[in-house]
Symmetry: C2
Subunit: 247 residues, 2 copies
């Protein structure tokens, strides 16, 4: 691990801390984070392989070639591991949602960028935990947290769909049902995708985005929702009934 | 139960069997089937409410106001109930697949009819079992049966997509990935739909079919796969790599 440290400048007197056998605080912090990530990733791989209930902390420790107390140094329980796996997968989608806000692109293209990351996350080692968490396996507070993160992503996707209908890049549709259909198609990847298949997660995500894009693009000669001050005649029952809380 | 029996014709001598206190064999058979269906439906409702592992045969018996031995008269185990719930949901889709074969309609319309039944099945009381079965909860032979039924439906959907590309009613696409996206969007309904929501299962299925149809329809001015003897230039990697076994 010490090779991460830069060598002291050659030829001069070096100050004492540079030759200290203890590593700098920020290095220890970074090292701890790397090891914690490795524990979470090992847990995800074991959950995928054996299922959550059939996996023990011993299995996870064995995969990492460490002892169970070492695993306990990074997480308090198997439940927390499931939760952290969920968060690791979902964070990729949340990060994409934040990044596209800065882009000056039609909303359909921003939505595609989010859905591409969503697809890659579900096809990653965290996909299984992302779509199976929220079950009875989590504590009440973890379960609430999972629900709120899922709802945040759902609202971001609906917002992008509404913006796309408004800017004319998406044909008029029901944002709630469309968001459910998109997320469902992507979530289901975790049920059929195995890493040893011939397509990579990125290729699958790309194939799905192409399919979605074909459905979302407006059609020549058909009305769009882009005209200013136009009456939202195609606004759907479901959309008016469940107003998004975040807007 | 005897009120299901037609009354003997008034005013004439009735033959002995009509007044027999034993019901006719076909009536007993029908009665048994009705009761078995009621047991399976009660199991589905209890699994939805409490989860498979938290549901006992006592819960199912209590819902029907019968004893546990009565339930055992119709099924041999809780596992079999889960399996039968799966079959009950999936049968609706298989039946739709069979029925559309007789219809002289463009393949996209036949596909829509199948997807509508698929959506209604997943939004029905059997939806949860349809998408969660195949797990470790089933015996090896039941699990194989579940897999083969799922594969049969998948192949039927792919075939309709290919036919649609050929007859020009569906724009050129990758049948395998498109079938996965459609089935995923529909399967996921079981994760978010609750019967007490404001939309019925039929309304949700209709909304999803409208979303899918917008994506599947060919676009004016874009090439279709309908031209005879045309080189399948847009035929995808995935489709050539996994040739459908059934064709």
């Amino acid at each position: 691990m010490s090779n991460r440290r830069p060598s002291p400048p050659a030829g001069g007197k070096t100050p004492a801390p540079a030759t200290s056998p203890w590593r700098a605080s920020h290095e220890r912090q970074r090292d701890r984070e790397l090891k914690r990530d490795a524990v979470i990733r090992a847990a995800a791989l074991e959950f995928n392989r054996k299922g959550y209930h059939n996996t023990s902390l011993d299995d996870i420790a064995a995969r990492l070639e460490v002892t169970k107390p070492t695993v306990y140094y990074y997480v308090t329980s198997k439940e927390q591991l499931l939760f952290e796996c969920f968060v690791a997968g979902v964070e990729r989608i949340r990060s994409a949602c934040r990044e596209v806000r800065r882009l000056e692109l039609p909303a359909r293209e921003r939505l595609n960028a989010v859905l591409r990351q969503y697809g890659e996350a579900v096809a990653s080692e965290f996909g299984w935990c992302m779509v199976r968490a929220e079950q009875d396996d989590l504590s009440a507070s973890m379960s609430r947290h999972v629900k709120s993160l899922k709802s945040e992503i759902d609202q971001s996707i609906r917002r992008l769909i509404r913006e796309g209908v408004q800017d004319g890049s998406i044909h008029p549709c029901d944002p709630k049902m469309t968001a459910f259909a998109l997320a469902g198609a992507l979530n289901w990847i975790a049920h059929w995708y195995r890493e040893d298949q011939s397509m990579s997660g990125a290729q699958i995500a790309e194939a799905f985005v192409a399919i979605f894009d074909a459905g979302l693009r407006p059609r020549a000669g058909e009305p769009t929702g882009a005209a200013p001050r136009r009456r939202a005649r195609r606004r759907s029952h479901a959309d008016t009934e469940f107003p998004p809380k975040s807007s």
